[in-house]
């Protein structure tokens, strides 16, 4: 995990112990449990595999580790620690809530900081559209020598003005913190941040952040549900189930980020990657078309409709044209020959439901992403594909479809991998840049 350039929970423990000897005021174990044991207890195969090396390093590295920590203490940015990813549709916000605050710190903590901390951590919804994904929260995380929880919050990009208003009301600017932001919105709304909330943004490249975030989160998640997983038996729906995947040696890796649009990156090492291509047919297209076709207005609503629909009434299948498989070209009868092809015919247009249309939209967009991804993987000669982005949020249909499509059309050569924090990696990557900001 050192490979990824980040410290795993285990290593964090080691540093915390060092810190303990340096100054007890810094250590305040959360929940009264020694952080080290909790990390060890929660570790899956990953931490086990890393065990011996990690122990060894703890002994031999104690002095350099302390030096590192000392320098960390000096360079450590002041709270609050935020990372932001302002996308075309959603703003993703990660917030590190320190849980090891000393009495002294508590006393010194300015009112505005406290208010922000309490506001964010005591709610799970903000306004009408802001949501904290509680299930994704990473507790007992040690970041730059501090222990706390990483919170994952999102709200629609169009609500950004309200967010800025809140920042102003809560005197965010008085905290003299740097706000690390990535995504297109970091550029588009930079001036708004300055004029509306008196905030200076540190703008970061979204793909850099994305990769940093993926590698970091994968390295620190040692407990609970595995961060990286795949679908076993994707071609057999009845036996298809999630399985943990060890992403320890991830390279080379095709990283497919499905937000409003899609970016496909080939990652060869932590700082060697290229954007292979992208497509404008992404999550925004799914939702946009669904809104137009069904009158729905939210992603959840669209997905819910899709789950009840039948795409084969909308799409024209190979068997609709050839009566069965098109054997000459190895095309199975169930394959879609023409997405929305049945809708050329008026009678069929009149007979489909909104649910069918939502489902067909989902299947069309998902299959297309699968198809482009597969071609990129072939061109780049990469077998491992990680799908991220908020299009996959609560979207098991698409994930299973991607898993299926990649497996089927590559004859088992390609593996579709998914990450639990699917949409937040850019924001996490941005947060990690905070350390370099001062």
């Amino acid at each position: 995990m050192e490979l990824n350039g980040y410290h795993c929970a285990g290593e964090g423990c080691a540093e915390a112990e060092d810190e303990d000897t340096a100054g007890p005021e810094l250590l305040r174990p959360a929940g009264g449990e020694p952080p080290c044991s909790s990390a060890a207890a929660g570790s899956g195969e990953k931490a086990m595999a890393d065990g011996p090396a990690h122990r060894e390093r703890r002994i031999s590295n104690s002095t350099p580790a302390r030096q590192r920590l000392d320098s960390l203490k000096k360079s450590r940015p002041p709270f609050p620690w935020f990372g932001m990813d302002i996308g075309g549709t959603l703003v993703k916000l990660v917030y590190f809530e320190p849980k090891d605050i000393t009495a002294e710190e508590e006393q010194e903590e300015v009112e505005s900081l406290k208010s922000i901390r309490h506001y964010l951590t005591s709610h799970t919804a903000y306004g009408k559209t802001g949501i904290r994904d509680v299930h994704l929260e990473l507790p007992d995380l040690i970041l730059w020598g501090r222990k706390g929880s990483l919170h994952f919050i999102r709200f629609p990009t169009q609500e950004l003005p309200a967010f800025l208003q809140m920042g102003r009301d809560k005197h965010f600017s008085s905290l003299h913190t740097t706000l690390c932001a990535t995504g297109g919105g970091a550029y588009k709304f930079e001036a708004d941040f300055r004029t509306m909330a008196d905030l200076q943004l540190l703008k970061l490249d979204e793909l850099d952040c994305l990769i940093k975030g993926v590698l970091y989160i994968d390295s620190v998640v040692a407990r609970g549900p595995p961060e990286c997983y795949y679908y076993e038996n994707p071609t057999h729906p009845e036996n298809c189930q999630q399985k943990a995947y060890n992403l320890e040696n991830p390279y080379p890796l095709l990283l497919v980020n499905i937000g409003s649009g899609v970016s496909i990156l080939a990652v060869y090492s932590k700082d060697n990657y290229k954007r292979v291509t992208g497509t404008s047919l992404g999550g925004g297209t799914f939702l946009g078309l669904c809104c137009l076709l069904t009158g729905c207005s939210t992603f959840e609503e669209a997905l819910e409709m899709a789950s009840r629909g039948e795409s084969t009434r909308v799409d024209k299948l190979v068997r609709d044209i050839y009566g069965g498989d098109y054997e000459r070209f190895g095309l199975p009868g169930w394959a879609v020959a023409s997405s929305f092809g049945n809708m050329m015919c008026k009678e069929k247009r009149d007979s489909v439901s909104k649910e069918d249309l939502a489902r067909a939209t989902l299947v069309t967009i998902t299959n297309n992403i699968g198809s482009i991804t597969r071609m990129c993987a072939l061109n780049e000669n990469i077998e491992r594909v990680v799908f991220v982005g908020n299009f996959l949020r609560v979207n098991t249909l698409s994930m299973k479809l991607l898993a299926y499509a990649l497996d089927y059309w590559s004859k088992g050569q390609l593996k579709a991998l998914f990450l639990r924090h699917e949409g937040y990696f850019g924001a996490v990557g941005a947060l990690l840049e905070l350390l370099n900001s001062s």
Partner: protein
């Protein structure tokens, strides 16, 4: 692939009115032998093979042996001309809307008299639907063929046989259509067929192809989703709608997310980040036009991207697009081209085909006609009988509605000879015969179209005069006039109709139209008279040349060819002179010539070369009859022979203007041989041979020459190519690069062209080129 909808009662009653007389559509139907039909979602393509009987002028030598040497005195012509009937093979392809299918089948049934065929090959999604109707009406058994293999077969056929079949589409360029040259090797290529879905096929050889991929997002998606989003039901209307829309109102662009460009990735602000991304925000109405446009972009970009990924994976750079999504629609050709350019950064060009809509029918036909071995022959597009490429958009194409609008025709003539590349082309794949592309050069186009229109009266007059004995000739000539004028009008509006518009294509179209109305050789008598006349002077010319010193003679020989080349009925300036002054002679012609230094003057290098060792074998593409061939070319050839150089004289297989044809040249050569022992010996020893070029054009396409000629050239180790005349050395081949020495000589008999080249009328071009060593090596 089948598209539903189609015929209902209401449209049936409208079907009966075909705007063109059916016998002009289904030409030569009475001789039709074999049928194939391709029924698509909205269009039917019918193919049949038919024989065409038309008149040809034949020349036959009189028996002079009995009275050798006498004819000069009594003025009797040296050969006779007779018009004979000849039967040639022709392929007919007709495209019409499915609603006309019943009317058309009825017409075919009534006119089908001579056919022995029992089956009709059928392909396309609609073949099944109309199977019973066809079998009932035509009493032919419908034999279904696989759609994809027909498509590929048809594609191979047009790529091989139709010059300028493929084109690049550039919406904002001076000419939207940039035609590609026929390549000696058409394989491998990628065919992206955009029907209701997309099939991506890699074609490696005539019989080897593989569907390497595809996509379900295709024409059906545009149509189906478009119909849902806009309530517009027809595909064409959806495209119309799209062409009026603004996709930026519906799509989320990079700048909508970034406020500008995403510079570090080189993504411009106007790039679509998320198709339909703006419609995800509720409570907003979007215009039908905007949604259709967004949909069009989404689908075109997606197809383009996948095509590029497949092209890259298989290392292919020729990608042809077809299918109903593309078929002549400027809107989709533009968006697909844009997408390909974007995704490959210009490395791959999107190619389209002029006869894309016919591929399935052609392929199905070829499958049924294998016993006729159509692939063993070369075929040529008949400009007289083919509609040419029509823009579908009425805005773009005002001619369309005036014309039938519903019926489109393609005719291919079987050529008597198989055509191949001249083996001496330096780079056959980059060879372009034509010097000026009138599709791109608007000024030149204007001039030449005007020029050909002006010359039309004279051609009509000449045609009538050539058949004085036939009273209905005037009527036919009038029909010819109308047809050719109409072609010229079409070309004025749509210069791209038959591929690149060139002087050659204008000349060839005229020849095709003349043939169409049974004027196979309007100049036959003029040629005969001029040959007779020139022969009388041959010996005198040769004698006077022999009196000259070597240096003087070489110059006189070149001047002789140039003076002979003034006698050109194809050039208006000259035909006016010849018409008014029949006594205009060889010496007078010499007076007209420009003095040295000529406009292009490599004479000194040529003479220097002649001082060196003789050439092994010279290939001479000759031009006009009469003075040109007899008093210009033959003395020059004689000198080459005396130097020890073998000579191959290449002349037209069929008549064109006053150009000497192969059969005429044979008689002329016999006559000269009888007078000149040098020629006689050379003929006997086969050091002088005559070959056909395989062409019937006043111009010359070195990539389509008779196979026999190519063989002779190779076997003889030809190391000098001489191309004579304006049509062959200026309008075409002026820039042709050969792998051996070449001589291009002509007199510019058109002041506009001379001016363009920086000279005056009767300027001389004498271009002698020696390939550099490095180029000569391969």
């Amino acid at each position: 692939m089948a598209t539903p909808g189609g015929t209902n009662r209401a449209s049936h009653s409208l079907d009966k009115s075909i705007t063109l007389p059916p016998d002009e559509i289904f030409r030569n139907l009475e001789n039709a032998k074999r049928f194939a039909i391709d029924i698509g979602g909205s269009l039917t393509k019918l193919a049949y093979y038919s024989t065409v009987q038309h008149k040809v002028a034949k020349v036959r030598s009189f028996d002079h042996t009995a009275k050798a040497g006498v004819q000069e005195a009594d003025g009797e012509p040296l050969y006779e001309i007779s018009v004979q009937e000849e039967i040639t093979a022709r392929l007919h392809f007709i495209k019409f809307e499915n609603t006309y299918i019943e009317t058309c089948l009825d017409f075919i049934k009534d006119h089908l008299v001579n056919t022995e065929t029992k089956v009709i090959k059928a392909t396309g999604g609609g073949a099944y639907k109309f199977k019973d109707l066809i079998e009932k009406k035509l009493k032919l058994k419908v034999d279904k063929e696989d759609e994809m293999s027909c498509l590929i077969k048809g594609c191979n056929f047009v790529l091989k046989n139709i010059p300028h079949e493929a084109f690049v589409y550039a919406k904002h360029a001076d000419s939207e259509f940039r035609f590609q040259n026929t390549r000696p090797d058409i394989f491998p290529y990628l065919l992206v067929n955009i029907g209701s879905g997309v099939s991506i096929v890699k074609v490696e050889s005539e019989d080897k192809f593989e569907r390497i991929g595809g996509s379900s997002i295709g024409g059906g998606t545009f149509w189906g989703l478009g119909a849902l989003l806009t309530k517009t039901k027809r595909f064409d209307e959806l495209l119309q709608l799209a062409s009026k829309g603004q996709h930026t109102n519906v799509d989320m662009l990079v700048k909508d997310i970034y406020g500008g460009a995403y510079g570090s990735l080189g993504l411009t602000g106007d790039l679509i980040a998320s198709s339909f991304g703006k419609s995800a925000t509720a409570d907003k109405e979007f215009s039908q036009e905007d949604m259709a446009k967004s949909l069009l972009h989404m689908i075109s970009n997606d197809i383009g991207q996948l095509a590029c990924l497949y092209a890259r994976l298989h290392n292919l750079n020729r990608v042809y697009f077809g299918g109903f999504f593309i078929r002549g629609h400027p809107v989709t050709m533009h968006t697909i081209t844009y997408s390909i350019n974007f995704f490959t950064k210009g490395e791959v060009q999107a190619l389209f085909l002029r006869h894309e809509g016919y591929l399935g029918a052609i392929g199905a036909f070829l499958k049924g006609a294998e016993e006729d071995n159509p692939n063993q022959y070369s075929w040529g597009e008949n400009y007289a009988g083919s509609s040419g490429l029509m823009s579908v958009s009425p805005d773009l194409n005002p001619m369309q509605r005036a014309r039938s609008g519903t019926f489109d025709m393609l005719e291919m003539d079987r050529l008597e000879r198989q055509l191949v590349n001249l083996p001496l082309l330096q780079d056959p794949s980059s060879y372009i015969p034509d010097t000026v592309d009138l599709t791109e050069d608007a000024l030149a186009r204007e001039y030449w179209l005007y020029c050909f229109e002006e010359a039309l009266d004279g051609v009509v007059k000449r045609a009538v005069a050539s058949q004085k004995d036939q009273p209905e000739a005037a009527e036919r000539a009038e029909k010819f006039r109308q047809k050719y004028r109409h072609k010229l009008q079409t070309l004025r509006h749509q210069p791209f109709a038959y591929g690149s518009l060139t002087v050659r294509s204008l000349l060839d179209t005229r020849e095709h139209c003349l043939n169409e109305f049974n004027f196979p050789d309007p100049y036959s008598k003029i040629k005969q008279r001029e040959n007779d006349m020139a022969l009388k002077y041959y010996q005198k010319v040769v004698r006077s040349l022999e009196e000259l010193s070597w240096e003087q003679r070489q110059f006189a020989l070149v001047r002789g060819i140039l003076a002979g080349n003034v006698f050109d009925w194809g050039a208006k300036a000259v035909s006016d002179v010849l018409e008014s002054d029949p006594e205009f002679g060889f010496e007078q012609a010499k007076q007209q010539l420009q003095e040295r230094p000529w406009l292009v003057d490599a004479y000194n290098q040529w003479v220097e070369r002649l001082k060196g060792p003789p050439h092994k074998c010279a290939l001479f593409f000759v031009d006009n009859s009469g003075m040109d061939i007899i008093l210009g070319v033959f003395p020059f050839v004689r000198e080459l022979l005396l130097r020890g150089t073998e000579v191959v004289l290449a002349s037209n297989s069929g008549p064109a203007l006053n150009d000497v044809t192969n059969s005429e040249l044979q008689i002329v050569t016999e006559r000269i041989a009888a007078m000149d022992p040098v020629i006689q010996t050379a003929v006997k020893e086969e050091r002088l041979i005559l070959v056909q070029s395989g062409s019937s054009s006043p111009c010359l396409d070195l990539s389509r020459l008779d196979k026999v000629l190519a063989t002779v050239v190779r076997e003889r180790g030809t190391d000098l190519v001489i191309i004579e005349g304006m049509g062959r050395a200026i309008h075409t081949n002026y820039y042709a690069m050969l792998s051996c020495e070449s001589l291009k000589l002509a007199v510019i008999k058109n002041s506009w062209l001379a001016e363009r080249l920086g000279g005056k009328i009767f300027s001389v071009v004498f271009k002698y080129e020696v390939p550099s060593k490095a180029q000569g090596l391969h």
